[in-house]
């Protein structure tokens, strides 16, 4: 039906609801038989371009992350292994949730004055806005680990310290390189 004749009074035939019911059934049954066909093809092991369902069965099957998705933070290191962070407090200032806590200390080298003694992020408060990443002048903090299953039984468990943040293993494979080429079939 054309949107412009939405407000036309229904004809006698339309008022019986029969054509509309048939229209609706045609839509849902088209989806049904298309998806059933794809499901059956998958079960007998034929790969298809499309998926029979849009569902991702999360714990077993990771949904591919868009390249710019913000995931768990990590702190970067310099080439000698010391933290890149210079404890400038920019991220702490920018953080809208006030979940970053930094205590600075002196650094032996002359060129770089400071480094963090304590660098805590309370993920229980973090809203994953990414402002800390934007604010950092040293590219010392990033949110590109690909880790999204962040959970803990205690509040303290949500608090990540400097050591933890420096040692996070990024799971880059969770990101897709070409989102338009997402592949894989759902599990049943």
């Amino acid at each position: 039906m054309n949107v412009h004749d939405k407000y036309k009074p229904l004809s006698w035939w339309d008022k019986t609801y029969i054509p509309l019911v048939i229209d609706g059934l045609a839509v849902t049954l088209r989806h049904f038989f298309r998806n059933i066909r794809l499901h059956i093809l998958n079960v007998i092991g034929i790969k298809t371009k499309e998926r029979g369902a849009v569902t991702y069965q999360y714990p077993e099957e990771m949904r591919p992350l868009w390249p710019r998705t913000r995931t768990l933070h990590r702190l970067m290191r310099r080439e000698d292994g010391s933290p890149r962070c210079v404890a400038c407090m920019m991220c702490e200032t920018a953080c809208p949730a006030r979940c970053i806590y930094i205590v600075a200390e002196e650094r032996p080298e002359v060129q770089i004055e400071k480094q963090p003694k304590i660098f805590n992020i309370d993920l229980g408060k973090c809203v994953f806005c990414g402002y800390c990443v934007e604010a950092c002048p040293e590219d010392a903090i990033r949110m590109d680990t690909g880790i999204i299953d962040i959970a803990s039984y205690t509040r303290n468990g949500m608090l990540l310290t400097k050591e933890q943040l420096l040692n996070i293993e990024p799971k880059v494979e969770n990101y897709v390189s070409r989102p338009d080429l997402m592949e894989g079939q759902p599990i049943y």
């Binding site: 019911v21 059934l25 849902t28 049954l29 989806h31 029979g52 369902a53 569902t55 759902p186 049943y188």
Partner: protein, 360 residues
């Protein structure tokens, strides 16, 4: 004595083995069919030793949950009626199947066994009575709950069911006129005859308008979407709001049983019942003269199978309708019942009468 044993056997087979199992599977079909229609996968997390079986085990999980949940009786509820109401609902959904002919006569050890639990020769009136009684389970449950929402849901339900019963009754008058009997077995048998020597005389061909009216009113009678104004679990809450545990389970089962009952009635009245085209008591006789003779047991099995297949196809369509249409507004329900279906069924009677008079 023997007749009693025979009736008990048929009861266990048809209701215990066939109907209740279809009802259980329908809960699974409802989940999976809707999921596939909506590009989802549907419930599949209930496993036994890691086996998923396409989510089939959710039926068992549901059953277990309903049985072990507390059956709570709200304060101020009429205890006796409150307990009785879901049972009434379930009972009248079940006894309806007694009159459905699942097949023609089966000859077993020299005994002629009609494949119908109770051979009621006023079958249609019996069905009307059973459908009429279904209102009581709903209204009593609503009233006994001592809850205003339940009471209002019960009122909506009774008004709706009474209105649509009128349409159901009048739409079947056409069937009675065409086949000249009110015995369900006779109606099913009459549909095995041929029109002009080749076309099976099914109700849907002789009474297309009656079929549409009966289906619509029948779906309304089951109180499922698009006619679920009495229930509306998600927003307007209905007559079983206070029920928990197995009380709710019974109402839930009643819904599915009524769907099956309406579908079997539609098959019996309009889709040829247990008839397979050109299959007679002694085998196939095709209109072009060929004949394949079959033993009685094969014929009975084929007939029963044909009934089941028709039933399943119809149930699939009813489920598809349930997952396609949005809910009717309450005034639309009443408008459809009284101003469209009732006049249409009266016109159907008129047309049937005129045609029958002309043909003679």
């Amino acid at each position: 004595m023997q007749a009693l044993a025979e009736a008990a056997g048929k009861f266990v087979f048809f209701i215990g083995l066939i109907v209740l199992n279809i009802a259980a599977i329908l809960t699974w079909v409802e989940r999976k069919q809707s999921a596939v229609m909506q590009d989802r996968i549907g419930a599949n997390r209930a496993t036994i030793f890691g086996i998923r079986m396409l989510g089939m085990f959710h039926m068992l999980a549901d059953m277990l949950k309903l049985f072990t949940k507390e059956f709570f009786i709200p304060m101020g509820a009429r205890r006796f009626v409150y307990l009785l109401a879901p049972m009434i609902s379930l009972l009248f959904a079940l006894v309806g199947f007694a009159a459905i002919p699942f097949g023609d006569t089966l000859i077993l050890g020299g005994r002629e066994i009609p494949l119908q639990i109770a051979n009621v020769n006023i079958g249609i009136l019996y069905i009307f009575a059973v459908l009429g009684m279904a209102v009581y389970g709903v209204v009593l449950g609503a009233w006994a709950s001592n809850n205003n929402y339940a009471l209002l849901g019960g009122l909506r339900a009774s008004a709706q069911m009474l209105s649509y019963e009128v349409a159901i009754g009048v739409s079947l008058v056409g069937v009675i006129m065409v086949y000249q009997t009110v015995d369900l077995m006779e109606i099913a048998r009459a549909q095995g005859q041929l029109l002009w020597g080749w076309l099976p005389q099914w109700g849907i061909l002789l009474q297309p308008l009656g079929f549409l009216i009966f289906m619509t009113a029948g779906i309304a009678e089951t109180k499922r979407i698009p006619f679920d104004a009495p229930e509306g679990e998600s927003e307007i809450v209905g007559y079983f709001i206070e029920y928990s545990g197995m009380g709710f389970g019974m109402y839930f089962l009643t819904d599915f049983l009524e769907t099956i009952l309406i579908a079997s009635l539609t098959v019996t009245f309009f889709l040829g019942g247990f008839q397979v085209p050109y299959l007679y008591a002694d085998g196939f006789h095709f209109p072009w003269g060929q004949a394949i003779l079959l033993p009685n047991i094969a014929v009975a099995a084929l007939q029963f199978l044909s009934f089941l297949i028709k039933l399943i196809v119809l149930l699939f369509i009813m489920m598809a309708i349930r997952w396609t249409l949005p809910r009717f507004r309450y005034d639309q329900i009443m408008h459809l019942g009284w101003k469209i279906l009732l006049p249409a069924s009266l016109i159907n009677i008129l047309i049937t009468a005129v045609v029958l008079t002309i043909i003679g």
